[in-house]
Symmetry: C2
Subunit: 738 residues, 2 copies
């Protein structure tokens, strides 16, 4: 990809969601004193870099600020006033020959916004705001800011500086540089990707301490879409659980330090398999920018220039030994070899899974249940749905099994009806199933949509040889000439019953043969689990001002940037079943006309091993299309069972029930989720709520344990306390009319 | 008070806020089978009861519901349908001779809304909803519902039943009956009011377990103003910290069980001093209803009637031994003696403190900072403010001290100026101070409000003998004939600097004598502490729909129904100083015209011994009016220092900085509050945020402690973890214009 093509692609990235995610590779930090010139950009393009990142200001500015601080400290003043940038302090000027979209500004790394020294933090904040203002003036779109050093500093001062910084320029994207691996640990010499299966408390805490810092920034900036992450990748990388956590967050940059590489036998830099997997995982993010941080002096005119050193941090004003530039010792891991490896790696990434291709552009896109996905997609991808490689195959298998079972029971003149036949795909499959079962059946197709009915007539004439009896009516009013033996329907929504399949099938149940009648599907179940979904929460937050009910409806969504919070002891996601519907319904005649027998409620407790934030509840479904003593044909959208039951099925996205207020949970916590499916005979809706529990040491037990000199060495956290209760959320106002 | 007067008072209770809070005494639970008749009400009135409470339904209904459940269980059905009430099932009918405002409905006590058995909880919910519907139909305004039994049951099902119940009738008040003392403890035989100073963890948890249940209900019902508490008082009553917690909640009823009394030497029921104090504390709530629960058979026609027994709970369908009615054994603690004691007790309560009388009607009333309290009160209570017994006395003392100090320095021709003189109270005090100091001074009164200026002219003619030089101008434009030695002002707001006292005094500082000039006040400081304030949060929540910025401004408010969360080891409230302003300002000339020198920031850590919910931050101020080497004259609104510094001062209420989302905190937690006073040279505003921290066991330390066989017996919770971060709230949009 040449530079101008890359530029165009960057410009279009927001719209380009139906293409494969691209990579935008940049060169990070040429040198603190390097000024941006068109020559520099041409050189980068020649090196196949799409962009470069440079410090907004240079060492001259740092020296001025240091002098001001020293003077203020000498005079015992409590306040310090940092003047704005001057011409000699900056690395860039507005220049029509420089495409500012290809330059990422880097805020001075020597500032310490979170210092507990008020003079340092105040001066740092002023520097940040001056640099943001100037970068915006130069036309930059994206800035990198170093994250807080650790949780012990003054995080509130850091948050405040960033929030105020956001208001200086209405367009700038600010990305916070945070190490993917916890900040409080020295990079270990051995590989650390091995999963901490044993849930050792210390490792656990450190593993998420970087995320804690980010979580605070995200919350304090109110999930602003202009705040994102620049994740620093070094040799130590987080385990798979922490990688999942980061994947749920708005990672815009991966900054690949040269320490992230190892040298192969020939002395060239390569990545470990773990690093390659991490990059592959994050390549699903769009847009994703990779920044190579292979600090060297190639672009600086004079290697011995004093500007070409690391900035010493503001807090330690004592002079530090300047880092030696490495240009004099050109090794095989020079910048060119990193670039070559990275391009090679990206070209060799395996293709994404089918659902990623099919769902491109739908990742984390919240669809109102009033405009279901099927409606939106009908014009462009109706064909794709009908060609779902799995769903209709499963239906055909189920119908064939049911036909054979009826035949074995001696039933003759079998009648099959497809209710809600649409464009007829199930009819085709029923005919094929009968043919394969060597049975001659009578088949009805019921459809009330007059447009679809026209198409069914055409299908009957051209494809089905007139074998199908077409009826244009609402299924609840249909009067067949005789009882139906098999009633086939596809009325399921993302949460199984949310598009009123139970109520629709109740209405047509009277046509089913009272003793041997079969409904396909025979039963279906709704399933759910609490998730962290900061992107979805941010989207709803931005809509909440104009749409007050935004948290009171579920959404159909292709969940992508999420993290499952409830895991079992094997680290697998823990999803619980809410309830089940069976057809034909047994208790239909007991109902007083209020649809009471279709009410459901569910209360499930979810263990949460690692702390996080609950933004909402993910919902899925499973359905038994047909089951007899030897065989079972199922559908599933549950991520943990779809591969076993209906691998590669693409017809349904998940459903998402949001929480108005995100709920933090602690390590080794429990979450109770309560769900209700409610009906008043006219509408059907859901209510949901969440309670969080923590475990604390029970002094009585611990004391006993101590006195018996237990060798376990583990503090028992066995007292369960209620921490917080959400509101009861209700979709009553936006319930489905029966 | 006779019955009709009481009735009128009950009717007017909402408006009657400027009178003393009254007591409304009712008789609780005559008997489950007692029907409401006009005779019964007349009898209650004759007994000096203002109201009675009765069960909505009777034993007949319970038996029907039980039969339905038994049948459903026998048939293995998963669902149960409870029919509505029939004529023989109810204790009341609409009757024009019965004032339904004097009858409080009690929901069947045998239902178990929080049962983990879905049949029981479903049947209970249906009973609740039938009874709410019928009670509303009969014109009742208030219902009592038994609270959940404990946290181990299905609380979500309980919450849901109540939330749905609220929507059945738009006016009914629902009060949840909850024991004031934790539900999981047997009532102890000894007194338990003694404060648990030692913070024993077990006692701590149990002490708040009742509150936990209520906190969940309040949250799940979204702080509905139609949900309140009926607090059950028995012999064991909570310690003072838990009483404070309950006082912050919407307690509408105190249900005084006969077990709350002890028998005195003569065999008559009396209350312990602790119980009396509790009732006195809650008598500040308005309205407050006391319900005497002296279960007896006086009102039932036949003592041996089988309806006159406790309802056995629904979950235990095995027959229970019916409780013996005590009518055959008439002792001196008969109902009459309880009544007599209660009336006697209420008549003897001590009068409320001055601020309660002065502030009647202002308790927890949130005043927008754009309409400060002084403006609202001007017409009706301006006189009261000027007669504040403390504030102007303190000013007079301060001026006298300052005059004497100047005199001792040999200053002659002393000039005093009152800037912002208003109606002149400070001028009067300055003259009096000079007289008492035997000094002849020149005095100026500066006022820009032309109406107040007219009054100042009148004062000068009639009271001050023309001794005062009046100047009608903005103080920032005043040009005095010579330097001023003492500049007196009263520009402080509830958070000291929030009405821009610093900026106003900066503008007039140039008139002050450069070496000996004195400002009164000399300095002031802002103070704050995190509080629980469910009433304030509920009020803001109800306004948030129409006013989106409702959480982004501070409010002036007479804080009443609040609980201080941060206490020191002596159980005293922990309030921290935010910042200080001194006059004359030292760094005025360093300011670049942007008012930067009046920016402030503050970060304080508050220990929170007992779990709770942070709804916002309470703010106060202190001011040093004048201080020399031997004396100091101060003002304070801090509840912990006001008595020492300016006892009974009434001129200022507190300030309240709300949080958009209430933040739960755990036992033995820490809360960091961050405050910023920000200015851009045109406006001044505040930003604030809260972070919560918990302490968990550090496995390393605990392990070491265990192996050394420590005898401490305490689990060290020494690892501090960040739990949650609030948004940064900002009043920038509604900041004060300079």
């Amino acid at each position: 990809m040449d530079a101008s093509a890359a530029e165009e692609e960057v410009g279009n990235m927001a719209e380009n969601t139906d293409t494969m995610p691209g990579f935008y590779i940049g060169e990070h930090l040429p040198a603190p004193g390097g000024a941006v010139t068109s020559d520099l950009l041409a050189k980068a393009a020649n090196d196949k870099y799409n962009m470069i990142s440079v410090y907004v200001s240079n060492l001259s500015y740092q020296r001025k600020v240091e002098a001001i601080i020293v003077e203020a400290q000498k005079n015992g003043r409590a306040k310090v006033y940092v003047p704005g940038l001057e011409a000699e302090d900056v690395n860039m000027h507005p220049d029509e020959n420089i495409n500012s979209g290809k330059v990422i500004g880097v805020i001075s790394s020597w500032i310490q916004l979170d210092s507990t020294d008020p003079i340092i933090s105040s001066a740092s904040r002023q520097v940040l705001h001056h640099e943001i203002g100037y970068a915006g003036f130069c036309g930059m779109m994206s800035l990198l800011v170093q994250g807080p050093s650790d949780c012990e500093q003054n995080l509130a001062a850091y948050y405040q500086a960033i929030v105020q910084g956001l208001s200086i320029n209405a367009y700038l994207q600010i990305s916070i540089m945070i190490p993917a691996y916890g900040p409080s640990l020295e990079p270990s010499q051995g590989g650390t990707e091995a999963d901490s299966q044993g849930l050792e408390p210390i490792a656990l805490y450190d593993e998420l301490s970087s995320w804690d810092i980010w979580n605070g920034i995200r919350t304090a900036t109110r999930y602003s879409p202009r705040i994102s992450l620049a994740l620093q990748i070094q040799y130590s990388i987080p385990n798979k659980h922490t990688q999942s956590r980061w994947f749920a967050e708005p990672v815009r940059y991966l900054i690949l330090d040269s320490q992230a590489y190892v040298l192969n036998a020939k002395g060239f830099p390569v990545m470990t398999k773990h690093h390659q997997n991490l990059i592959q995982k994050f390549s699903r993010k769009s847009p994703l920018y990779l920044l190579a941080n292979t600090r060297h002096a190639e672009y600086t005119p004079e290697p011995e220039n004093p500007l070409d050193v690391d900035f010493p941090p503001l807090g330690s004003l004592a002079p530090k030994g300047a880092r030696q530039a490495s240009t004099t010792n050109r090794r095989r891991d020079d910048p060119q070899s990193y670039r070559t490896y990275l391009h090679h790696l990206l070209e060799d990434l395996p293709p994404p899974p089918p659902l990623d291709i099919f769902g491109a552009g739908y990742q984390d896109f919240l669809q109102s249940p009033l405009q279901p996905l099927a409606d939106n997609l009908e014009s462009m991808t109706y064909e794709v749905f009908e060609k779902d490689p799995v769903k209709y195959d499963q239906y055909e298998k189920a119908v064939k099994l049911a036909l054979e079972d009826l035949k074995n029971q001696g039933i003759e003149d079998i009648c099959v009806a497809v209710v809600g036949a649409g464009r007829g795909p199930l009819v085709t499959r029923c005919i094929r199933a009968a043919t394969n079962a060597s049975l001659d059946i009578q088949i009805f197709a019921i459809e009330k949509n007059p447009n679809a009915y026209v198409h069914l007539m055409k299908m009957n004439r051209d494809v089905w040889d007139g074998r199908v009896t077409l009826v244009k009516t609402d299924m609840r009013k249909w009067k067949p000439p005789s009882y139906i033996h098999i009633l086939v329907s596809e009325l399921l929504g993302s949460f199984a019953d949310n598009e009123l399949s139970p109520e629709c099938l109740d209405g047509v149940q009277r046509v089913l043969h009272p003793t041997v009648g079969i409904s396909i599907p025979q039963s279906y179940t709704a399933h759910y689990t609490p998730i962290m979904a900061p992107k979805l929460h941010g989207d709803l937050l931005s809509r909440a001002g104009s749409t007050p009910d935004v948290y009171e409806v579920p959404y159909v969504v292709m969940l992508t940037a999420i993290d499952f919070l409830s895991l079992d002891s094997d680290g697998q996601v823990n999803i619980e079943q809410a309830w089940e519907f069976k057809h034909p319904a047994e208790d239909l005649e007991h109902d007083g006309g209020f649809n009471d027998h279709n009410q459901r409620e569910s209360f499930c407790i979810f263990p949460v091993p690692r702390r996080g934030v609950i933004h909402g509840i993910a919902g899925y479904f499973e359905s038994v299309l047909y089951k007899n003593e030897t065989s079972i044909v199922e559908l599933s959208t549950r991520p943990d069972t779809i591969d076993a039951k209906s691998k590669d099925m693409i017809s349904w996205f998940a459903i998402y029930f949001p929480l108005k207020t995100p709920m933090p949970v602690s390590d080794r916590a429990e979450v109770q989720v309560s769900f209700w499916r409610i009906t008043d005979g006219r509408k059907v809706w859901y209510d949901w709520m969440v309670e969080t529990f923590a475990f604390i040491p029970d002094p009585k037990t611990s004391l006993a344990l101590m006195s018996t000199d237990s060798s376990a060495g583990v503090i028992p956290l066995n007292k369960r306390v209620l921490v917080a209760t959400s509101e009861i959320h209700s979709s009553k106002k936006n319930g489905c009319l029966m």
